[in-house]
């Protein structure tokens, strides 16, 4: 009986997603529709879609649980995930749109006139995309196991199938509507239960979330200077990593022009800010009611039943389950689009007609991380997301920032930076995942290797600049012309060929 609201919620969200997706199918006809919704998405709708796509399981379930367990130091995750959009707005948004490219590899190739850079970027997009898809599928398995007592493989398979159908049939145009819908669904699914629970809490006269553990209100990691390093490295990875996430970047090409791209980003900042006010409410209420969830990720799912037992609690649980499921679906869809876009352009379109190529690429983009999620059910959800951010910050962030603002970037410099940043961050976190502790240097080695962004990002920037300087004679001849296109407002009538 207790599984009924959750089951209803999951079925409803899946049906709504498929219905909106198939409605979008009727208005999607061309390849341009599939990849960039023919570049006609207005800022309001596009911002909702970006918000819907971006707020993954980590935001919907993970943050509240981490806050309950570790306290205020975890507030840096939502702050970084939001501030990343400010950095993106300031450095990247409008020029990226004006570059007129479909994907990150397209941008790199157009800017640097090099197939080699393009291939390195394509590999990185697929790697980051799959790294980020894996925890979405695993989170779905955990959620359905908690809400419905389903076996762990059910969640990944259901999410994978729904994503496959909605992305493969409608492409970017239909997914825009699906994701805009899912932002508002997620916000409602977190806001309404939070409001009800707060009213109940005010009536219950339970004591406030008093900080019984002294450091619950310390916004720093443990261990003095090591905590400070960890916090700053996390801040750097999230502030700079957002612009390098493939599913975020691909949405910017759907704006009509550079100005709209900026306004979209500003709206995203506001939408994320509103959403991230809610997880601390769940954490505080969880503390006030002494919640001790089995896994910290399930706090949001278990809190309603704990505070209001009975029918109301069941209905509220159904709501948050719906929101969580929407979170898996929308983030996975966005990542599947981004990965399959790159696979289509670089692999399948050489052998197959346009739409078939996109659909085959989508199947591959979903099947690989799905298989990995089924084979490795305990990969560590939060770690994989952190790795994705660190890798994106150490590779695509320097490429975008230098490519947009510095005429002197060369193809050799870009490849050097991508390899140094990518290898450094992947090796560091891979080491941590595999081993976890060396015990060298009072634990400093583990801390520095465990949060690589603070050194891998500057290293990647340095490699790009130094190697570009050394190969300055091979700077692409059209660099100035390309920068003109990136920075000139559309109202100025230029030759934009």
């Amino acid at each position: 009986m207790t599984q009924l609201p959750g089951l209803v919620a999951v079925v409803l969200v899946s049906l709504a997603t498929l219905a909106i997706g198939s409605w979008g199918l009727r208005v999607s006809r061309t390849t341009s529709d599939f990849f960039v919704a023919s570049r006609t998405v207005r800022p309001g709708l596009n911002a909702s879609a970006i918000g819907g796509e971006y707020l993954s399981a980590a935001s919907f379930l993970g943050v509240a649980g981490l806050l309950l367990t570790f306290g205020a130091e975890m507030l840096w995750y939502p702050i970084g995930w939001t501030a990343g959009y400010l950095v993106l707005l300031v450095l990247v948004a409008a020029p990226l749109r004006r570059s007129g490219a479909y994907t990150l590899p397209d941008f790199a190739e157009a800017r640097l006139d090099s197939r080699r850079v393009r291939h390195v970027c394509s590999v990185l997009v697929v790697a980051i995309g799959w790294l980020y898809l894996l925890p979405q599928f695993e989170g779905a398995g955990l959620t359905l196991a908690a809400a419905l007592d389903a076996p762990r493989w059910v969640g990944p398979v259901v999410v994978g199938l729904v994503v496959l159908v909605s992305v493969g049939s409608g492409g970017m145009r239909s997914i825009t509507f699906v994701q805009a819908f899912q932002y508002w669904l997620k916000l409602t699914a977190l806001l309404v239960p939070a409001a009800v629970l707060l009213v109940v809490w005010a009536g219950d006269r339970v004591s406030g979330p008093s900080a019984t553990a002294a450091d619950w209100s310390v916004p720093l990691g443990d261990g003095g200077a090591q905590g400070l390093y960890t916090t700053y490295s996390l801040v750097l990875a999230t502030f700079l990593g957002t612009m390098g996430l493939p599913h975020v970047v691909v949405r910017f090409y759907t704006n009509p022009d550079g100005r709209a791209a900026r306004r979209t980003t500003l709206a995203v900042l506001a939408l994320l800010g509103v959403f991230y006010l809610l997880p601390p409410v769940y954490a505080a209420l969880g503390r006030a009611y002494g919640a001790e969830p089995a896994a910290s990720d399930s706090l949001v799912l278990e809190l309603p039943r704990l505070v209001v037992p009975g029918l109301v609690g069941e209905v509220l649980t159904g709501m948050v389950t719906a929101g969580a499921f929407a979170a898996f679906l929308s983030t996975s869809s966005g990542l599947a689009i981004a990965v399959s876009g790159v696979l289509t352009q670089d692999v399948t379109s050489k052998r197959l007609p346009d739409l078939t190529a996109f659909r085959v690429a989508t199947v591959v983009a979903v099947a690989v991380p799905l298989t990995a999620a089924l084979l490795l059910p305990d990969f560590g959800v939060a770690r994989a997301v952190g790795l994705a951010f660190a890798v994106a910050a150490s590779t695509f962030c320097p490429l975008l920032v230098l490519g947009i603002w510095w005429r002197g970037l060369t193809a050799a410099g870009a490849v050097a930076g991508l390899l140094v940043g990518g290898a450094g961050s992947v090796a560091a976190v891979g080491w941590t995942l595999a081993d976890g502790s060396s015990g060298w240097g009072d634990g400093w080695v583990d801390v520095v290797v465990g949060q690589p962004a603070a050194w891998s990002v500057p290293l990647a920037f340095a490699a790009m600049v130094l190697v570009s300087r050394a190969t300055a004679s091979r700077a692409p001849a059209h660099a100035l012309r390309f920068m003109v296109r990136l920075h000139t407002p559309e109202t100025v009538d230029l030759d934009r060929s």
């Binding site: 400010l86 950095v87 300031v90 900026r262 306004r263 012309r481």
Partner: protein, 124 residues
């Protein structure tokens, strides 16, 4: 951008006889030294603006961990019963980020308008 639907009604008129400024975009299209100067001025303006906004972000939000590290007494400060860390990091940061972004968008659009006017085009 409005390709769908029926074509828009267009009023047919004779050629515009008023003197029209000659657009200076040719210099930019041909990547002449003068074009480089025009673009350089826009690029510097926008980069300087970006640096100012990012600097503000670094000092305010980026300074918070250091502040709490150097002044551990702040952990116990409460405003209306809420620990100040939760208030600042959980609530106040977000309107501040939106304000910074809003400021940036306004100034960036103004820079672009100035540039468009310099190019001899009036904004549509």
């Amino acid at each position: 951008m409005t390709e769908q639907g029926s074509p828009r009604r267009v009023r047919v008129t004779g050629p515009d006889r008023r003197a029209r400024p000659i657009p200076r975009t040719g210099d930019i299209d041909e990547a002449s030294p003068l074009g480089g100067v025009y673009l350089g001025s826009l690029l510097r303006e926008q980069l300087w603006l970006a640096a100012r906004v990012l600097g503000l972000l670094t000092v305010t939000v980026g300074g918070l961990p250091l502040l709490f590290f150097l002044a551990p007494g702040l952990d116990d400060v409460r405003v209306a019963g809420v620990p100040v860390a939760w208030l600042v990091l959980g609530v106040l940061v977000y309107p501040w980020l939106v304000l910074l972004g809003w400021h940036y968008v306004r100034r960036a659009e103004r820079n672009e308008r100035d540039f468009a006017e310099l190019m001899g085009e009036v904004e549509r």
